[in-house]
Amino acid sequence: MKKIVYALLGVAVLAVAGFLISKALQSSLVYFILPSEYARDTAAFEGKRVRLGGLVQAGSVRFDDAKLHLTFQITDHLKDYPVQYDGAPPDLFQENGGVVIEGRFHDGVFVGDNLLVKHSSDYHPPADGEPIDVDALKESLR
């Protein structure tokens, strides 16, 4: 009898734990948001630390060798934002490649301090005008 009560208690606590963990895992703050997700809810993210994921827009990369200052546009083909990052681009950083960057939005410019390059060769951007597969993009960045 007592054993059953304890077993039920244990299961209940584990359920709470599972709920907490899954809730934390879903939170965009632990993983990342896409530019279009930011656009949808700009006010909620403004000035807060977030991780932003997307592709490096072709032709947008500027790197100032002397100041070690990198700027580029991050995009999910629905929305794009300028990114500023102090530091050299990592070796695998390339146009149309996937990146996840940590930092904050200030007036529509994302100031990042931690740049992570993702291997996303299995993601092929659609032709212009076509809707993109957001889930596939997310998956490739994970």
Binding site: V13, S27, V30, K48
Partner: protein, 227 residues
Amino acid sequence: MNDLIAALTVARKDFRQELRSRATTVATLFFSAITLVMMAFGLGRDPELMRSAAPGVLWVALAFAGVIAAAQSFQADLEEGAFEQLLLLPVSRAAVYLGKLAASWLYLFVLGALMLPIALGLYGADAPASTWWLLGLVLLLGTLGLALIATFYAGLTANLQAREALLPVLMFPVIVPIMLGAVRATEAALMGSADAPLALSWVQLLGGFDLVYLVVCASIFHFVVDD
């Protein structure tokens, strides 16, 4: 209900012992403080680097202290076969585990509350007043995680040779997720109230880990202490 009372009784006994072995208490206190200072020497004098390292260094110091405190609490019990005598009373092993856990949790939490301002001061980081409650929450859940694992493995290694070296070898790989969660949550909490949601999701994660380990450790502790 009886088990709850038993757990509280064991916790009170452990805490009383902790307070009476003043030398040990003071030693762990200074041990963590010295760790903070030594790590500062190791990191060099780049202020930005030191500021960003503060949360990590704090939790490393607390993890070391946790090992010592847990090992010490079993050491005091094992002398003269008193722990054996305790296990001969009709108390459930889970209650003994929870009692010892509660005592070392309280101890680690107090230690953490003392070390936090020291770490912030030494490393030039400052805590915005608006997120003190968050830091408290992180400290509470992080030290619970450390105490959970430390108490469990201290019980496991209590009558093995070389336990002083063995305990950290066994428990450190297990506490990696707890350390990471605690460090990240502390970092986020230090960034101010705008990042409270970020800190809260790390806190949720930390709480989730804690609860899983709580259930697992409490339910298998008897395999460890019964010979």
